[in-house]
Amino acid sequence: MKEVVESDSRNTTDPVKWVEEHGDALYRFAYSFLKDKERSEDAVQETFLAAIRANDRFSERSSVKSWLFGILKHKIVDIIRQDARYVRPADWADDDPHFEDRFFNANGRWQTPPRTWEHPELTLENRQFWREMEGCLALLPPKTARIFFLKEMDGMSTEEICQETGSTTTTVWKALSRARMSLRACLERHGFGQE
């Protein structure tokens, strides 16, 4: 089948028409993560504005829709990261050489062994879980968070993340390991998985 990009009305590069064409789909996508009218509307609006500012960089190889969704994901992540419910320890930075020391003794054993999670229901529909997860995601330092979101929101491979961020594979694996370590500890600390 031949691709006809120009004549497809759903592929218009006229920003005013985007609201009609893609507004609902973008909103629904944002809402599934943000669960809140105002925050979802913000995410959609910020997506359109960012797209207008970058319109000349739009490549016709992709569809307008997938381009907008790519931007929206970043806006959703930005909004999740503004959640300031929990406070990150002041000394936890991306390059913290002592990160693992918070979790392990000098002999390499767990300080607080992970407990069994009872009836773990990890879904977006489980508001309690997702609220905690949002708060915990906001705790990650910026580079660690960026790598984690590229992996888990965009589904990128290690190689793609390395290209995107200019990091080595070792850095990417370490960041992912630390993100997972801190997320599960944060969830458990706030009562997830306990009866």
Binding site: P15, V16, W18, V19, G23, D24, A25, L26, Y27, R28, F29, Y31, S32, F33, K37, E41, V44, Q45, F48, L49, I52, R53, N55, D56, K65, F69, E100, F103, F104, N107, G108, R109, W110, P113, P114, R115, T116, W117, P120, L122, T123, L124, K151, E152, M153, G155, T158, T169, T170, V172, W173, K174, L176, S177, R180, M181, L183, R184, E188, G193
Partner: protein
């Protein structure tokens, strides 16, 4: 820079194992790494729980990617962008185009 993978064939602590468990989600482990990991997990309850939990988290995000991806195609389902939000966003877009949009470029 130190290669933190080189000593991983000797007996490992939970600290080392936790990193290996995580990496097993991101790259294929070598045969010896898999052996060390499996042996440790056989006897260590805490690392077992750790492995289970980060897999649950990984699985949650994978499912979420699939589910939310399918939302992009379902055009007429709830929730839809409320009418007043639609108007507000449209006005904001028109402002943006007037002030900074493509037309303002020479």
């Amino acid at each position: 820079m130190t290669d933190n993978r080189k000593e991983r064939t000797s007996p490992m602590s939970c600290r080392d194992i936790s990193a290996l468990v995580s990496e097993s989600l991101d790259r294929p482990l070598s045969l010896s790494e898999r052996l060390v990991l499996r042996t440790h997990l056989l006897f260590c309850r805490a690392c077992n729980e750790y492995s289970r939990q980060i897999r649950l988290i990984e699985d949650f995000f994978r499912r979420t990617r699939t589910e939310t991806d399918s939302l992009k195609e379902r055009d007429h389902e709830e929730p839809v962008l409320p009418e007043e939000s639609r108007r507000r966003i449209t006005r904001r877009i028109e402002d943006e185009i007037r002030d900074h949009g493509p037309e303002s470029h020479p």
